[in-house]
């Protein structure tokens, strides 16, 4: 076995030192009734080459990427990833390291995460960002719990236009706590209706996603003003950070906590995970924040360096009083996001974001031209809801056979939107692809 370096002689001499007769006797203290009596039923070991062939074939059972034209987003977006990113991420020094508990031999990861925190704070318009959480869904759950700690209130209001899966995760996190979640409906324009918030007692935070699940841009500045009146925090969630290259970021609009999914920033879709939970807030709240933080300091000789800091918030020090139970996060994906933001730069980020916008608008216009209705009239980014002409489900299936994924049917997430679809176009979709889709729809 190529990962097990022990020769027979090694084993014999080591057993001798350990005072054990054979490998089995190392376990002789374990009670008999705890023992595994039958060998686990696993396939016989395969060679490297057999596994390669087997798994390459399984990967081909996921044909969508190569062969299909994808017009689907909904929290997982197909963006181009520069070759530099997977190449750099596979550097063993990053890839095979543990959490940087020993800063002197972890300066690479620590500086990279410090840079990630900085770029994230700039992207989201906030003072500080943490070193990452698992994904956009759990980041929102953590943000709501943080708001409850800050405000010492027990109710939160969550927009119905937040990704349905995120809302499901919030429910799971909140279920044992007894805190109340109130859902805010969406308006005819596809944005959140906050008119009821001043009737809700004890409201710690209002959570709004922008661009929201329908792709609509929410008026966070207005919501912030209203939330201030009732002394609750504004939590801005997001699933598509590329939008902040074009649209105002949540920080400028007054958000107190900004959290979301960073998958769009150089991270493969990978059937939904791993993603990147991005999390940023104001400096005032830093000690209430979940997750790891990297800070700048100096060494014994006065040289600049980086360490994990403010660990007294964390589980390994604070145990049951910690701000979160999170330990392992999404560090390598945070590096991917930093590399992605660094590769684009200000100029690239603006251009890419605008290109995404224009492709989506072109798709929108083209579908309207063939009779699709737009139920929501808010400005959008990357995706939008359509009501196709009657009988489109047949067209959808015909398109599927012709290798187009013509959006996401919304009925599963919003029963009241049966017959509606959500369409998405990123920079990876060409005008020819869009024209071909529309041509098929028309025929």
């Amino acid at each position: 076995m190529r990962f097990l370096p022990h020769t027979k002689e090694d084993i014999a001499s080591m057993l001798d030192v350990a005072g054990a007769k054979n490998l089995e006797t190392l376990f002789s203290k374990i009670p008999k009734n705890c023992r595994m009596t039958k060998k686990p039923r696993l396939p016989d070991p395969l060679t490297e080459w057999e596994i390669y062939d087997y798994i390459v074939n399984l990967s081909k059972e996921l044909p969508a990427a190569h062969e299909y034209k994808m017009f689907i987003g909904a929290g997982s977006y197909h963006h181009n990833i520069p070759s530099t990113i997977p190449f750099l991420l596979s550097r063993s020094e990053f890839y095979t390291a543990y959490t940087p508990y020993q800063p002197e031999i972890s300066q690479g990861a620590l500086q990279a995460v410090y840079e990630y925190q900085t770029l994230t704070a700039k992207l989201l318009g906030m003072d500080i960002a943490n070193a990452s959480l698992y994904d956009g869904a759990s980041a929102l759950a953590e943000a709501l719990l943080m708001a409850i700690r800050i405000k010492k209130k027990t109710t939160v209001a969550v927009s119905a236009a937040i990704h349905p899966n995120y809302r499901r995760v919030i429910q799971t996190y909140f279920q044992p706590s007894g805190y109340t979640i109130i859902e805010l409906p969406y308006l005819k324009n596809g944005c959140t209706d906050i008119s009821a918030i001043d009737k809700i007692d004890d409201l710690a935070a209002i959570a709004i996603q922008s661009p929201n699940f329908f792709g609509c841009i929410e008026d966070l500045s207005y919501i912030k003003k209203q939330s201030q009146k009732i002394e609750s925090l504004l939590i801005a969630s997001f699933a598509e950070p590329i939008s902040f290259g074009l649209y105002k970021n949540p920080g400028i609009q007054g958000a107190d906590i900004v959290c979301g999914e960073g998958q769009s920033l150089g991270i493969p879709q990978s059937f939904g995970g791993p993603g990147l939970g991005m999390f940023a807030t104001k400096m005032d709240y830093v000690r209430r924040m979940p997750g790891r933080l990297v800070g700048k300091t100096v060494d014994m000789d006065g040289r600049e360096g980086f360490v994990l800091t403010l660990a007294t918030r964390e589980q390994h020090i604070r145990r049951e009083k910690a701000t979160s139970n999170i330990c392992t996060n999404s560090s390598l994906n945070a590096l991917a996001a930093a590399m992605y933001m660094a590769s684009l730069g200000s100029t690239g980020m603006r251009e890419l974001s605008r290109l995404n916008y224009d492709k989506t608008e072109y798709l929108k216009q083209s579908l309207v031209n063939v009779g699709f209705k737009l139920p929501f009239d808010s400005p959008t980014f990357n995706e939008f809801v359509v009501k196709p002409p009657k009988g489109f489900h047949k067209t959808y299936n015909r398109l599927l056979k012709k290798k187009f994924i013509a959006g996401l049917p919304l009925k599963r997430f919003y029963p009241e939107l049966a017959g509606h679809y959500m369409m998405c176009a990123t920079e990876t979709v060409s005008r020819d692809d869009i024209d071909a889709l529309v041509q098929e729809v028309r025929s």
């Binding site: 490998l23 410090y114 279920q175 493969p268 059937f271 145990r319 392992t328 660094a342 590769s343």
Partner: protein
């Protein structure tokens, strides 16, 4: 300094990202603009973020240089206790990068997702076979989220019986995540001390287990590196009072194919794919923390679950008793591919062999190092052993000084000052992928450091000497946090 193969390093300086580059540079191949510009509402738009503009070469050099200041398993031995820093096979990395996987959208019709669902379904079966448990969810994104899932499952179980329990027993040897996860689920953690042998006694558990206690969270093998020999009696005591037994399986690497967790009386168990099943830690994630349960807890597992209908796998939300969702989609699929490939490589026989050799390595180190370090519990161990700095105190050096000097000899330090029950703990987990020669080198390095402590303790107190930076001022970092540039 004793001459041993070490890493003096090729250490280049590298500024922060934004101290590099020039406005107008670009490191990204922007796709062709093949559509016109459409109008945007001016009130909504901004100038975009203030990022540095870098070329592709700038980016490559920056991160390549940074990487050279970082120590990984591929650099050298990484005996970090309770972290199972075993070798991460390269094949697994290549496979997980296949475009079928990386480009897989999570919300496509089932027939377009069969390859991913097959891997997940098989991995669930494999983990169930390896642990002896009945059912598995792969959804938790890391060990701590697996713990939370476990707590929620136990809470849901009690609620389904019409009762609500407010406490949970957590031994003093538990990972910090255990009490934090319990608290997140609304339980009050009740501590219980381990005995003179470093394990839990049945009596200690019997004394505090009552009908308001939801169960116990036990790490087995525990963080002192011992198998909880009394686990059967403890499980009986907890079950008799209607409680559930949660096992933190972070240390499963000691007992694969050797212990049947179900037979031990465990009701819920979490695994760390990034420990036992060789997936990389990536400097702190992403990992994956599957949860294995006994039959009676299966109805509560997170949704969606994978089901089979007429030979087609599909994701189903139709489990009314579920605790709900923990992840935006289905968990860290890309990590699952790597663990799947690892299990296919090893097979049952070599997984067991891996555990045997991990335990052999730890016992070998224990015997070799007890000549120089105080060993608070001198008995055969599992995958790791815990020493302390007691013998070195007379030279006025402590655990931190010792392990910082170890860095100069080319090794990553062990886990230190944990578990809390051992003062000045030095917790060593070699894993099975370290050879006898490498372990002998680690032993020699420790011995050299201990000799240096006698002659020149300052050498230790000022260590490490050969790294990018010397010891850093962590107090100032926390007092005056500088978290972005």
């Amino acid at each position: 300094m004793t001459v041993l193969p070490n890493s003096s390093g090729l250490v280049m300086d590298e500024p922060l990202l934004w101290e590099k580059g020039k406005k107008g540079r670009n490191g990204f191949s922007l796709p062709r603009r093949d559509v016109d510009k459409f109008p945007v509402d001016k009130k909504l738009i901004s100038k975009g973020p203030d990022f540095p503009d870098l070329s592709e070469v700038d980016v490559i050099r920056h991160y390549t240089r940074l990487s050279q200041w970082n120590f990984g398993i591929d650099t050298g031995m990484y005996p970090l206790g309770s972290c199972t820093m075993k070798y991460n096979p390269k094949l697994n990395h290549i496979l997980s990068g296949f475009s079928g996987f990386t480009h897989a959208h999570p919300l496509l019709p089932d027939h377009l997702s069969q390859g991913a669902l097959k891997i997940m379904a098989l991995l669930e079966t494999f983990l169930s076979e390896i642990t002896g448990m009945d059912a598995v969810t792969l959804q938790p994104a890391a060990g701590a989220q697996g713990e939370l899932a476990g707590m929620l499952l136990i809470d849901a179980f009690h609620k389904s019986k019409g009762s609500h329990r407010s406490k949970i027993i957590v031994p003093d040897t538990a990972h910090g995540t255990n009490p934090a996860s319990a608290a997140l689920c609304g339980f009050q953690a009740v501590p219980v001390a381990s005995n003179e042998n470093g394990i839990l006694s049945s009596k200690a558990v019997a004394d505090i287990m009552d009908e308001d206690t939801a169960g116990i969270m036990v790490t087995n093998p525990n963080t002192l590196g011992f198998f909880e020999d009394n686990i059967l009696e403890i499980a009986d005591i907890v079950h008799t009072k209607g409680g559930q037994v949660y096992c933190d399986g972070a240390n499963m690497n000691a007992i694969m194919g050797i212990v049947d967790m179900k037979k031990c009386g465990i009701d819920v168990l979490h695994l760390n794919l990034h420990k036992t099943f060789s997936t990389p830690h990536g400097g702190g994630g992403p990992g994956a923390g599957p949860v294995c349960v006994k039959k009676h807890l299966e109805p509560f597992l997170p949704i969606p679950r994978i089901i089979e209908k007429k030979g087609t796998l599909m994701l189903s939300d139709n489990f009314p008793k579920t605790i709900g969702k923990l992840h935006g989609f289905y968990g860290n699929f890309n990590v699952m591919v790597k663990a799947f490939s690892y299990i296919l490589t090893m097979g049952a026989k070599d997984l067991k062999k891996a555990s045997q050799l991990a335990v052999l390595n730890a016992n070998y180190i224990k015997e070799k190092l007890k000549e120089i370090f105080y060993l608070p519990y001198d008995r055969p161990c599992m995958h790791e052993c815990v020493f302390s700095d007691k013998h070195q105190k007379e030279y006025n050096v402590n655990t931190l000084d010792i392990v910082k000097r170890l860095i100069d000899y080319g090794f990553h330090p062990p886990t230190i000052y944990f578990p809390l029950v051992v003062e000045g703990a030095i917790m060593i987990e070699p894993t099975e992928t370290e050879s006898k020669e490498d372990i002998d080198r680690l032993v020699d390095a420790f011995k050299a450091v201990v000799e240096e402590a006698k002659i020149d303790p300052d050498l230790l107190r000022n260590a490490p000497h050969n790294c990018k930076v010397k010891r850093l001022d962590e107090v100032t970092a926390a007092r005056h946090p500088c978290l972005s540039g």
